[in-house]
Every structure is written in structure tokens, then in C-alpha cells.
Symmetry: C2
Subunit: 358 residues, 2 copies
DNA sequence: TTGAAAGCGCTAACAT
DNA sequence: ATGTTAGCGCTTTCAA
């Protein structure tokens, strides 16, 4: 293993360049107010010594870390099996990198992890946090609030302004789950289908609830289209989709369209429909949600689905957080000016992508 | 956005408890050598004030951060699309969490990112680094060495001891790529196949080179089995597998077995074989490498493949790093005592998993 | 424009 | 067993 070596300090650079520590500090941090030749001498000394500032020392006085925590409250397995997180992380990573911030990934699996994460955030390691995938009973938001770290949430939290719950000051980014779902279901209805089912996501997450609401909005518009038996609970996974689809076929063999809560669920549904000998879209039209490239384009037939800009969501979350960190003035403007802003939540638009499955 | 608040210091706790800072520090860090009632008073003060230690200040003096960087030198997209990394990350996360260390994820996409990462590591943010997926021309290892941070590599680096290159002190963890490949190819040969092809991985990675070597070992054992035209270059992706398989069929229509460099490549190959009307395994037997559950078990037919303990690799990497960090005495023993140790590299065993495809 | 000096909050000798 | 004290390496007034 490569060994750690002791690094030169500001002091050493100052000595070598024959100047004071203050001057070196100035040069290292942008160099304004230092005469060119002096600055040059300092830079040479830095170079020769291979000086790199000690961030702990710097943070101690500046109280900045240029690091942001990303908290993912999911069993780790799913986090990475699911391209959704991958894409969001990617967006976040890009935005943070562009602003010279580091990404500290905090994975939580159980209760013990929650307190660990809370301690970490409270410990002042990071300037802010991006938090994902909260479930109904999740204690994390409360812990995070207590930790007193600026935070932006990914996905509408259960206690956001819209539900009239405790903390209306919460900032979050989400896509228009309800509107997207409505569009998908309307599309199925426009196709002339009348037995349009919905395989839900995990209903302890707001995205699943909102999509279900969108489904209800749409079927309510067509007399006779609403039938509670057509709604089966899934969990956003292919396996859950299979289970739900099987149950649906047993319950309502006359189903002629399925709106799945996400593409993975649709994937499972497609498998079961094929097994059952139902043709897609002739016998049963199928629509998904997310438009995750590796999934939606590869299914057989390719999936009609609701596209959301997942990577963009990640970027936006990071941007909002960084803007909030760099002083309050920009924040309000940004949040309010963003598309679909509503309170402190930013709702991104969705688009229906028509492919062969519906 | 939740606002940051100014936190109480050790000093404040000391004042409140009526003791010195040193005593508070002792209590906070385990509390040995402090009489029970006093310790209790301190704990109460900590509680009442909601005191959380400032890590920057602590790190400044202890020179420990209890954080480890994970550097993934891949386009971010692939990193997360590929369950391989997901599993390794998971193993790493578990091990780090178990030892109260944080995971700082550093994603690199281009040259600019390399220097950024180097600066970060040199900046003393973390106690060590876990580095993945190096390519032949990767400047990262050099930069990391210069950064002087203890490092464990995932996968044999190009310049490891085995190739007689510059830095023989390098610690890495890998699976027995060559032996695993050999076993898979021998299995195909034992099946009576004589036109056994190999779809390679990205040959700028040692794992691909080693698997190719294993393939060559095995075919060399059977007179007449070696034919250079049976080796086609892929890139570890399904798309690459499709391309390679198509080329292979064009080049050698008489192929009767395929050893794919990984399961994703095999997936692509299976698709092309199906399109081409070749039955698997009757006409062409197919074997993969990795045994990634979501892939190998779901293919049609299920894939015969070489299993490696990916999550275990991640855990081991983290363990080796942490052991190295906590003083040199344990390290030599561990590295030498680990299974398949060879120099400073630890090679984990592989197992052939027989399913229907071969 | 440059330097001197005072901390940031904590740990770890060293005293007591 | 507890307190005193001297920094860790840096930024940032304040003076010069």
C-alpha cells in the first residue's frame, strides 16, 4: 500500500519563497492583491514543494467544505440495480464537479445508519445534503433537520407544503408525477381502451401515490372507466410488476390496457403478458413511466412511457443546493423562477413518449 | 432550504458541565479515565447543548478523517449501468460502515477530473483511497501515488508486480480471471466442442487480457483447438457482445461454443445467436463470466458462467485499506495470509456455475 | 501591497 | 483523575 507522506505546509512555502504565510495564502486563493513578481515566486515555491492546502485547516476557519452529501435511504442493492439513481447521481456529480464540490455518498440501510448519517451531517463534514427516496415512516428528514444542514430533497417529501405538514420551508425537486400519469392513462383511453389498469409503485413513496392520483384523474374523466379492482399494488421492481400483473389477470381477465408505475414494473408486466399469451399492444396496451433508456427501448415491444429528465433532476437539485449555500439572495429567485415552481418545490415537466407498446 | 446553525463548541460544553475542555474531550472520545459522575455531568451537558464535535478541528490534530475515497475512473454512465460496480460499492460501503468510515465517491470522466481527484486526495480529505477500473493509459495511478495516499486497487493494475513494472508495492484485489477463464473454456472443450471462440472484453483492462490468456491456456491443451480467428474483440457491454458475435458468425460460421468475457457480452451474443437461428446450447454452447444475478439467471437459456464474489472483493479491498491505515503490523500478515496471495495482490478464487447454456 | 498576530475547535502531552 | 497548555495549518483582521 502506498504510504502517506507528510506534506509541506503553508509555512514551508512561505519560508522558501521568503514571504509571509499571509502572502502565500493570498496567492493560493486567487492571488489578488499580490504583486506579480512576488506571486510568481510563491507559485514557484508551491510547485517545487508540491504544496497542497490542508483542507481540514482551511475548513476550520472558513467553515466551508466544498463537499455535499448525497443521502440515499434505500437498501444499497436496489440503489444501484436501479438506473434511476444512477442517472440522478450522474446529474448531481456533474453539477457538483462543475462547481468544484465533492460528492460524499451516504448509503443507509437501517436504523443504525440513520443516526450515523445524522451524526455525520451534524459533524460539519459537508456544506449541504441532497436526500433521496424517502418513505412514509422515514425518520431521516427529522434527523436531518436537527442536524441543521441545508438540504434539498429528491422527490416530494411526505411532509412537504402540499400536504400541509410540519415543514413548509422544505426545498425539493420532483417531476410532474400526477400530470405524467394522467397523460399516459389518457393516451390509453384515447386508444379506445376501456379496461385500463394500474400497477402501482411502492405506495409509501409519494411518487407512487401521485402517479396513482394521476391515473384516477384520467379514468374519472371517462364514465365507467373506474374500477378499483383494476388497481394492483406493485413496488417499482420487475418482480413486483410480475406479481401485480399475475394478480391483475386473475382478477380482471378482460383488462385491455395497463399503466405501470415505472418502466421496471412494465417490464415485469410484459413478461407475464407474454407468458399468458396476450399480445402487446393488440390485446393489452402497456405504458410505463420514467423512460429509462436501457429498459424502455429494449423491451419487446419497445415501451410507450412517460419521460422525465432524471439526470436533469439531479443537476437541478445540486444547483439549488449550491445556490442556497452561496448566500440567500439567489435562492428565492431561482426556486420561484424555475419551471413549475410551487412553493419551495420545483416540479419538472414530463413528456409522453410513444413507442410500440401502446 | 434548512439553514445552517452555529453549533456549540467543546468549550461551551466544558463551561456548562463545570469541567475543562480536556475532560469533555475524553468523555466524548470514549470516556476512559474519567470518573463516572463527572462523565455523567458532561454527557448531560453534551445532550442539553446538542453538541457535536467539529470534525475539521479534530482532523486537523489527529490527521484522521475516518473517510475513504472511492475513485471510479469510468464514464459515469457505465459505472452505474453496470451491476458490477454496484456490487463492489455495496461491499465497500458495508465494510466501511462497519468501521465507522465514510465513503467519498469520486467519479472521473476526463483529464480535468483526474487532476481534480488528485488534488482532492492530496488535500488530505480522506485517509485512503480505493481505486477502480484502470485502463492502460490511465494517468490516475501516477497522480495518486504522488498524492501520497494509501491506496488499494480493484483489479490488477497494469504496472503491478506481475508485469514487472514500476511499482511493485501496489496492493490490489482481483479475482482469478485467468484461472476462471481456463475453467470455463475447458468445460466447453469437455463438452466435445472443438470450435470454441472467445469474445474478449476491453483489452485495455487487465481483466480482459487475463481472461484471454486463460482462454489461450485452455485451447492450447487441445490439439487443433487454437485458431486466432475465433478470438473477437468486445468491450464488456451487451452492444459490444452483439457486434463481436456478428463478426464471429461471419468469420467462422462453424463455431460451436463461445466463451464471452463477461455476462453482459454473453447477453449480446445470445441475442445475435437467436436472431441467426442458432440454438443454445445445441448448436452453440455459451459461457460467460461474473455471474451477475440479474443477468446470468435471467438469460434465455440461463447462462453457464464463472462466478466471482464481487461484493466480497469490495469488502476485502476496504478491509485491506483500513487494516493498512491502522498501522503496518497487521497489513503484511493479512495480505500474505489471504487466499491466493501473491506479492501484494490478493487473488480471489472463482467457481464455474453450470446452467443451461453450456 | 505585505506582514504580524489572533484565533477556528479540537487533541494530547504534560502537570498537578 | 483532572486541568493547563501548546499547537494542528490555515485565513483574516489589523498595522505597517
Amino acid at each position: 500500500m502506498t504510504e502517506a507522506v507528510s506534506r509541506p505546509t503553508l509555512e514551508a512555502v512561505a519560508a522558501r519563497a521568503g514571504v509571509s504565510r499571509a502572502t502565500v495564502s493570498r496567492v493560493v486563493n486567487g492571488g489578488d492583491g499580490v504583486r506579480a513578481p512576488l506571486a510568481e515566486r510563491v507559485r514557484r515555491a508551491v510547485e517545487e514543494l508540491g504544496y497542497v492546502p490542508n483542507q481540514a485547516a482551511r475548513s476550520l476557519v472558513t467553515r466551508r467544505h466544498d463537499a455535499v452529501a448525497v443521502v440515499v435511504a434505500e437498501p444499497e442493492t436496489r440503489v444501484f440495480a436501479d438506473p434511476f439513481f444512477a442517472l440522478q447521481l450522474r446529474g448531481i456529480g456533474k453539477e457538483l464537479t462543475a462547481h468544484d464540490n465533492q460528492l460524499v455518498l451516504l448509503l443507509t440501510e437501517g436504523r443504525a445508519d440513520h443516526t450515523r448519517v445524522a451524526r455525520y451531517l451534524a459533524g460539519g463534514h459537508v456544506d449541504g445534503a441532497l436526500v433521496f427516496s424517502l418513505h412514509l415512516d422515514d425518520p431521516l428528514p427529522g434527523l436531518i433537520r436537527d442536524a441543521g444542514v441545508p438540504t434539498v430533497f429528491g422527490g416530494r417529501p411526505h411532509w412537504s407544503a402540499d400536504t400541509g405538514a410540519p415543514d413548509p420551508g422544505v426545498v425539493y425537486v420532483d417531476c410532474d408525477n400526477r400530470g405524467g400519469a394522467r397523460a399516459a392513462v389518457r393516451h390509453l383511453l384515447d386508444l379506445g381502451r376501456r379496461r385500463v389498469a394500474h400497477l402501482t409503485g411502492a405506495l409509501d413513496q409519494t411518487s407512487a401515490v401521485d402517479r396513482l392520483d394521476g391515473y384516477r384523474d384520467a379514468v374519472a374523466e371517462v364514465p365507467g372507466a373506474y374500477d378499483p379492482r383494476l388497481v394492483v399494488e406493485g413496488d417499482f421492481t420487475p418482480a413486483g410488476g410480475e406479481r401485480a400483473m399475475r394478480e391483475l389477470l386473475a382478477r380482471c381477465p378482460d383488462v385491455d390496457a395497463v399503466f405501470a408505475a415505472n418502466d421496471l414494473t412494465a417490464l415485469g408486466a410484459l413478461r407475464v403478458l407474454r407468458e399468458a399469451g396476450r399480445r402487446v399492444p393488440e390485446d393489452v396496451a402497456v405504458a410505463g413511466f420514467d423512460d429509462m433508456a436501457p429498459v424502455a427501448e429494449q423491451t419487446d415491444p419497445p415501451l410507450t412511457t412517460v419521460r422525465q429528465d432524471i439526470e436533469g433532476m439531479g443537476r437541478l437539485m445540486a444547483r439549488l443546493l449550491l445556490e442556497g449555500l452561496s448566500g440567500g439572495r439567489d435562492r428565492a429567485r431561482t426556486t420561484a423562477g424555475a419551471p413549475g415552481a410551487r412553493g419551495k418545490g420545483v416540479i419538472l415537466p414530463t413528456t409522453l413518449i410513444r413507442r410500440a407498446s401502446a
